[in-house]
Symmetry: C2
Subunit: 174 residues, 2 copies
């Protein structure tokens, strides 16, 4: 059974970018190092097309399932890249079919929101910055999932935090 | 000089409510206790009208400056409550004039965003929940403030975190 891990970095006011398709250059070096080292542990990356385009140089070297509405069934672009419409096909079934065991989900907002139900582990970095306005971590239908904090680590002196959450036992949230 | 402290509780995806004017009943008991105990330390509460209305029973017992566009100059409703238009008048000047030394800023989104520049201390509670959609911690113009983590505390077993941030030395953020 595949084990889904999501990675996200946000400001303390819950923003992952100032605007759509912004290249992430505002996170700390410590977070960038953690993120790049972590991605190597996964056999496939699941990513929305906007996010993919902002990091294409890096991501084109990895197996990627890129979510887009432009296809109606999975379309393989090359050895590494598949376009996939998660509203049309069952992503989890596809991941199993392909034999992937450790997918990483790396956003953006709509992807985190749409796939939250699948996530077993979430590594959430909180940078001690405030954007005020911008793109939220999640943007989608209401979810109402409870997680549990498994561990936390302060990455630097300003106070960048790396929080590791795991799916909580199913329970109603108030 | 007044020392401004903001309090906020959000889900791990940065939401302070599922919808406008929702009464906050989804935070942990530990956070609710911390919040109620903390408010008592402040000589005045600065709050947006929507948030004020959701907690009026509790807040009507305290000195409140309630932000609203419905007035053009400060209007005193009673001994405790003043209506104030922060787009029209200088809130910090008013606070000083009134002799308040420790205002608490308690939201919502637009108030946090509009007043972030004033905040010396921020106590941010992160509940291990995901709402997916909802009201963000900040909603306003772009800010770009750097803070510094002063301390953190885990409040319960699920992993509710209480983060204490202070204003960072002025510096450009990337």
């Amino acid at each position: 059974m595949p084990n889904y891990t999501a990675y996200a970095a946000m400001t303390l006011d819950g923003k992952i970018a100032r605007e759509e398709q912004e290249f992430v250059d505002w996170t700390s070096k410590e977070d960038a190092d953690h993120y790049q080292a972590s991605l190597k542990k996964h056999d496939v990356i699941i990513v929305g097309n906007n996010t993919y385009q902002t990091a294409i140089e890096n991501l084109s070297r990895r197996n990627c399932i890129v979510l887009t509405r432009r296809v109606t069934s999975p379309e393989r672009e090359n050895e590494r890249l598949v376009w996939f419409n998660a509203e049309h096909d069952d992503l989890d079934a596809y991941v199993r079919e392909q034999g992937y065991v450790g997918p990483a989900i790396i956003g953006g907002s709509k992807v985190y929101a749409a796939l939250f139900g699948l996530i077993d582990h979430l590594y959430l970095t909180i940078e001690p910055l405030v954007f005020g306005s911008g793109i939220p971590l999640t943007d989608g239908r209401q979810i109402g999932t409870a997680m549990k904090l498994a561990s936390l680590k302060q990455l630097n002196e300003q106070g960048t935090l790396l929080l590791h959450y795991v799916k909580a036992e199913k329970k109603d949230i108030p």
